[in-house]
Symmetry: C2
Subunit: 386 residues, 2 copies
């Protein structure tokens, strides 16, 4: 096991009818900016629950934060924070709204002139403006971590930020919200959380037995509940397991003491940038070819995953590892998610070269857990995913 | 899954050569009281490492905190805190030293006249004096939770305390410390952590799939590493897994959203009080008869545990559950831990009645996850453990 440090101070409030607890968490004298996305919370009743809980608190609203939270929109919110003397932020939404709120938490206290520097210069936030979240879409884990990804359309950039000051003070996870999520987004959430775990697990063994088993536990749970989640009939128990699994998949715990990969995400982000493919689906496109291309360095872990998660018992390590890759692809397909780039666009020729070039231009010359994935190898992986 | 709240702000610093990091965690202007136990840290080199890390910090020492931390001793330490204007506490030890330090953290800021009230009246500490820990004995999980158990000899009381203000600010977990731990204490640590998990798991299903699998992960890891831990030759990898498993077994995570039992601990504490049997060994004495006596309400979970943790495939639910109990007893024995009261004392007649009476006198009329374990049932369980 590698040395590690772990601290996660976010308070999770989990369960039925918990949205009303917001008012116990936000100071009574706070001036709150309530942030949300495209307005689905007004249709599904969550907005009303939140407003009711905030009845005795001074609140201003800012809606319209888009998927892949956009810098220009966030600057408008930042203006509101400054002119209206906001002291506390409340994100009601999925990963995009929460990530956008983290940027605002950092930018609100940032003393430099250009908030974009927080992303461009990778400035860690030690103490941001306090914020809480009400999660409406299980997937990204942003509700219990301190990272965010922000997009800037004008420069076609998508950059990450973070710091110990960007953990939510509290996050409310009411599985009832799953009821109104469209099936496409449910499938995306399942695939996203599944791949988050894979990125922190499918590397090489450092004999971190408990981390391995925790990662396998999340994968097993997601596999077990997926059919029920995608069923038309809402199931509270399955929704609870879905929600908690997504949070645990990326709250820092399972990555501690082990090598991590994250190449699938790095490549996948480019497919979103080039073709606008849903983030989770880009991961499903890249996973198989990434594992096939890096088979020799990942096969021991792939075989362990095959044995423990998919109950594969036949064959040697190579056989089990190959079978495990097949099972993974089949899992994505069972969610209704296609796994080849050509399933999404006919204009895929040249994509591999384009992405490899972007990586080279950016100086990304060594991705993956061994820091051995060159742009040439990335090109090959993307080609294999056509 | 039941509703739950979860917040654990302790910073874990895990790995080789991490003791020197103390000085990055304690404010430079702090006046520190360094607390430890019987002095074994002076023999194994940990004391020197700690002192070196504290070279530039103002430190006063207080050694001699006994196993089952004793109120009278702690009052002496409290006197030092007050007269020497201590501002920060540092526990270097196992669960007893850390628990004692938690009491001091609470008592140092307590405004009432009698610190015992914190225990007697179960006063929760919202904000205690800040403290950190250097763990020298993996077992109790106290390094990453906010609870403590304090003993008062003069009144033969052993009472629990806690509160959100009693999480350590940081805990340093260097697996190298396992090297110098006597085998008896290693066995106790393994049994203690194992039973901590059982108490939070072996109840009835609320379909909390991830919590179940996390609990099973810890059990599987402890089983897998136990022989290596008890081997004379020190193994850093096994020690790492041992240490992290003990912490995760009782840092609050696996109990969230599920019913918990804790009757084994409640009964076991009495055996320590009556016969001075090591805490972990009292748990091993009670477990089998507790599960046999409550077989009907626990058998589904026992069977699941049998299947997933012990790979029991034969028979129906009853068969698997029975086999799982046998495997548990065999596991304790594999640690060199006897599982019958008569293995520890010939003077056991009347123990069951005595313990039942103590429970009745204390008003403990309904233990266990169903709150259905009456003193009469406790009497039966203890008898079965003779």
């Amino acid at each position: 096991m590698n040395n590690f440090e772990f601290k996660n101070p976010t308070k999770i409030i989990f369960g039925k009818d918990t949205i009303k607890k917001i008012n116990e968490e936000i100071p009574a004298d706070a001036k709150v900016l309530l942030l949300y996305g495209g307005g689905s919370i007004k249709k599904n009743g969550i907005y009303n629950q939140v407003k009711e809980a905030l009845a005795n608190i001074d609140v201003i609203e800012f809606g319209g934060i888009p998927a892949n939270p956009e810098y220009a929109t966030l600057l408008e919110a930042l203006e509101v924070i400054k002119t209206k003397n906001i002291t506390y932020l409340l994100a009601v939404g999925g990963g995009s709204v929460i990530d956008g709120t983290k940027f605002l938490s950092a930018a609100a206290v940032y003393e430099g002139k250009t908030p974009w520097d927080i992303l461009q210069k990778n400035i860690r936030t030690e103490k941001g403006m306090l914020f809480g979240t009400v999660l409406t879409l299980p997937a990204t884990g942003s509700e219990m971590n301190s990272g965010a990804v922000i997009t800037r359309k004008e420069t076609k950039e998508k950059l990450a930020m973070g710091g110990p000051g960007l953990f939510p003070q509290f996050s409310i996870l009411d599985p009832e919200v799953v009821k109104s999520i469209p099936q496409r987004q449910l499938a995306n959430g399942l695939a996203d959380a599944f791949t988050h775990v894979l990125e922190q697990y499918m590397t090489y063994s450092v004999d971190a037995k408990l981390q391995d088993r925790f990662a396998e536990s999340i994968l097993q749970t997601l596999i077990e509940i997926a059919p029920t989640i995608l069923n038309d009939e809402f199931d509270y128990k399955a929704a609870s397991n879905f929600m908690w699994s997504c949070t645990m998949a990326l709250n820092g715990l399972i990555q501690k003491g082990v090598p991590t990969d994250w190449a699938i995400h790095a490549i996948g982000h480019e497919l979103t940038a080039l073709y606008g493919i849903d983030h989770a689906r880009t991961l499903a496109i890249i996973t198989e070819s990434h594992y096939k291309h890096n088979f020799e360095t990942k096969k021991d872990k792939l075989a362990q995953y095959g044995e423990r998660v998919w109950n594969i018992t036949e064959g040697n390590v190579d056989d089990k590892a190959q079978a495990a890759i097949k099972k993974t692809t089949a899992f994505f397909k069972s969610l209704g998610i296609d796994t080849k780039l050509s399933d999404y666009t006919s204009d895929y020729e040249g994509t591999a070269k384009e992405i490899a070039k972007r990586f080279t231009d950016r100086g990304w010359l060594a991705l993956g857990e061994h820091q051995s994935l060159s742009p040439e190898k990335v090109e090959k992986i993307v080609e294999m995913a056509y």
